[in-house]
């Protein structure tokens, strides 16, 4: 990647309200940030917190969940289920060091194409200000100590063997990573 | 009989970009939404004296007729009563646009020398700048001397009676921290952080 870093936003939109609103935004030719990738689900109630975690782990910088306004759910109250999950999930994420603004739940009705634009733009800018979450890179980085060890052990074994022959201790120190 | 004048407008009479410039000033953006319904003129208490009705001013600005707009007496007749701004169905802040046009007219010297309204504005500002407060007596006296020295005498009667009722004084009021005020104004003049904040 030699291009400038761009925030990546994964959005789960419910079929009836928010996905339709995004369609409306399209029909109305409202322009917004191209950083969002929408995944359609039938209802925000379908959004399993695993999806949100997985998206973050796979490289999303933020996740947006869009559902119908309270009282307007096509499935009566799937959105309330999501709202409840959202609260606990946000607390959990906070404890796991993920910034508040990276995960957001918004109620966007089928008529609110402009709100899709506003929320996507707003979130994209917030993510840009926060900088990359970069979990895949982090996982790699964290695991580098294991790879290094394998190499270190190897080197030390060789050095020890040599030192044993020469009758002196190894000068090499394993630094705290 | 009235003198006849050319009324047709050629493209050369326009100053392209003028409208866009005005509409880029915060508060003036919605001018582009004008539907020429005339509500502004309909509610304007001064519209009966205007050479161009407020509605026409909106149209002239939008179409870049800078000279017509800035030399129009309409912008100086606006008494800032905000009736147009409140009633406009497109929520255009017409009063603020009038302010913007007044500023431009003053900057570009588009008004007759002894025309009292801009003179009042400038005298007013000079006094505030120097002293921090307005002394109405001094201000009015200055204004009359500058614009209609001949009429000033005629106003003396009113002045006398005001003085008698304790409402007229030539004493200059001053604020304590004039230096502070000057510094604030100076900082506003500094172009550093975004000029006059209009961009």
């Amino acid at each position: 990647m030699n291009k400038e870093w761009q925030p990546r936003l994964v959005a789960f939109f419910c079929n009836w309200c928010t996905y339709t609103a995004a369609d409306l935004a399209g029909v109305s030719r409202l322009k917004y940030a191209p950083n969002v990738r929408v995944i359609r689900v039938m209802c925000s109630g379908r959004v399993d917190p695993q999806f949100i975690l997985d998206a973050l782990a796979k490289g999303a910088d933020g996740v947006l969940v869009g559902g119908c306004h309270p009282g307007d759910c096509h499935y009566v109250e799937g959105n309330y289920k999501m709202l409840r999950r959202y609260h606990l999930l946000k607390r959990m994420l906070k404890d796991m060091g993920i910034e508040e603004q990276r995960v957001r739940l918004e109620w966007i009705s089928a008529a609110e194409g402009h709100k899709v634009r506003q929320v996507v733009n707003e979130m994209t800018e917030q993510l840009r200000a926060l900088g990359p979450l970069g979990l895949p890179q982090k996982f790699e980085e964290w695991d580098r100590e294991v790879e290094r060890l394998a190499a270190d052990v190897h080197a030390r074994e060789a050095a020890d063997a040599a030192a044993a022959c020469a009758g002196r201790t190894s000068a090499e120190e394993v630094t705290h990573a | 009989m009235k003198e006849i004048q050319r009324t047709i407008k050629y493209e050369a009479d326009r100053v392209p970009g003028f409208g866009r410039e005005v509409m880029s000033v915060p508060g003036c953006e919605k001018l582009k939404d004008c539907i020429q319904c005339g509500t502004c003129s309909g509610v304007c208490p001064l519209s009966i004296y205007m050479d161009h009705s407020p509605r026409q001013v909106m149209a002239l600005v939008r179409e870049d007729f800078k000279r017509e707009v800035l030399s129009s007496c309409t912008i100086w007749l606006c008494a800032s009563c905000y009736a147009c701004t409140v009633e406009c169905p497109q929520q255009i802040r017409i009063t603020d646009i009038m302010y913007e046009l007044k500023q431009r007219a003053i900057q570009e010297g588009f008004y007759p020398k002894r025309f009292p309204i801009p003179v009042l504005a400038q005298e007013f500002n000079r006094m505030v700048h120097d002293h921090g407060r307005i002394s109405e007596g001094r201000l009015v006296t200055k204004l009359f001397l500058k614009t209609k020295p001949l009429e000033a005498a005629g106003m003396a009667g009113l002045g006398m009676r005001l003085m008698k009722t304790g409402r007229f004084s030539l004493k200059q009021e001053n604020i304590r921290d004039r230096g502070d005020l000057a510094r604030i104004m100076e900082a506003m003049d500094a172009p550093a952080s975004g000029g006059n904040g209009k961009d």
Binding site: - | P26, G27, P45, L46, Y49, W76, L77, A79, S80, C81, Y82, A83, T85, V86, R93, T95, Y99, E100, K102, Q103, I106, P116, I117, P118, L120, A121, Q122, F124, N125, V128, G132, R133, I134, S135, E136, G137, L143, G157, L158, L162, T165, G166, R167, F168, S169, E173, I175, D177, D180, L181, R183, I184, M185, A187, M188, S193, N196, G197, K198, D199
Partner: protein, 288 residues
């Protein structure tokens, strides 16, 4: 109830009577006003016409002084001051660039704008903080028989005031009724008085003042009650000129606070009533 008090230049000059009546009346109602230290001119409409940036900074200095003085609210009795201070707050809220610039300028003299200080008009405070009932209870000399045309003028309700209806305000009507006066209903409550045009373009400006006086008279008013020093001046000071140009329409124009003071039993001269050109005559009190 304590408010910062921003008198404005007029209340120290042509509008002295407004201050002279406002202060004792509010004190009588338990409202404490503390004059803002070293306030400066709000800039009025003239300044806006020259440089809105400076106009903002000028008004903002007063807001910053209010903040420094620890006032939670600021009272501005002059309509122009009330409008300009409110407008400045709106302006700063809507334009972050302007806010940065103004805050920077204020910063050079160690002033800051870190919070909103609501700017209130006395009508608003009297109606919503004090309450009509509390006012009614203070009335000792009801203004029975006095027919008053309430005149709000333009800038107190337009475009920012939220305390009353913009097209048909009624707050002063309620006050006047509480004082025992008879309120003249007229459709000119918020029409322009001519503003500063009375001085600069008398043809245009004075005509508006003339029409207001004429209509109030026609509808049987004994007096016009105003809330703004410029309105009061325009309706009071030019009777000779109006008579010369059109017809005599003599009618006293007083501040609503003067009427309150009278109804509270305060002597007329302590309320600045002697400063008006057209004297107010109260009908003889009827035995209740």
């Amino acid at each position: 109830m304590k408010y910062g008090y921003f008198p404005g230049c007029s209340l120290k000059g042509t509008g002295r009577a407004y201050e002279e009546s406002l202060l004792p009346v509010l004190r009588h109602l338990g409202v404490e006003l503390v004059e803002l230290e070293d306030w400066n001119c709000c800039g009025a409409t003239a300044y806006m016409a020259v440089d809105e940036g400076k106009a903002c900074a000028l008004a903002a200095r007063n807001l910053a002084l209010a903040e420094r003085g620890g006032f939670q609210q600021l009272m501005a009795p002059c309509s122009a001051c009330y409008l300009v201070l409110n407008k400045t707050q709106h302006y700063l809220d809507e334009s972050p660039a302007m806010r940065r610039k103004v805050e920077g300028a204020l910063g050079t003299v160690s002033l800051k704008l870190s919070r909103q200080t609501p700017v209130r008009h006395p009508l608003d405070v009297l109606l919503h903080d004090v309450g009509v009932e509390a006012i009614r209870q203070k009335v000792t000399r009801p203004l029975s028989g006095l027919r008053v045309a309430p005149y709000y003028g333009c800038q107190v309700v337009r475009p920012y005031a939220t305390f009353d209806d913009q097209a048909n305000p009624t707050s002063m009507d309620q006050l006047l009724k509480a004082l025992g006066a008879e309120v003249v209903d007229w459709p000119l409550k918020t029409k322009c008085c001519g503003g500063s045009l009375t001085g600069t373009l008398p043809v245009a400006g004075l005509r508006l003042a003339y029409l207001l006086l004429k209509e109030a008279k026609k509808r049987g008013a004994d007096a016009i009650a105003t809330v703004c020093p410029l309105c009061q001046f325009n309706l009071d000071a030019y009777h000779d000129k109006i008579a010369a140009r059109w017809e005599p329409v003599r009618l006293p124009t007083v501040y609503f606070t003067q009427l309150m003071g009278l109804a509270f039993g305060m002597p007329a001269h302590t309320l600045g009533l002697q400063r008006g050109f057209v004297p107010l005559e109260l009908p003889a009190p009827t035995a209740a």
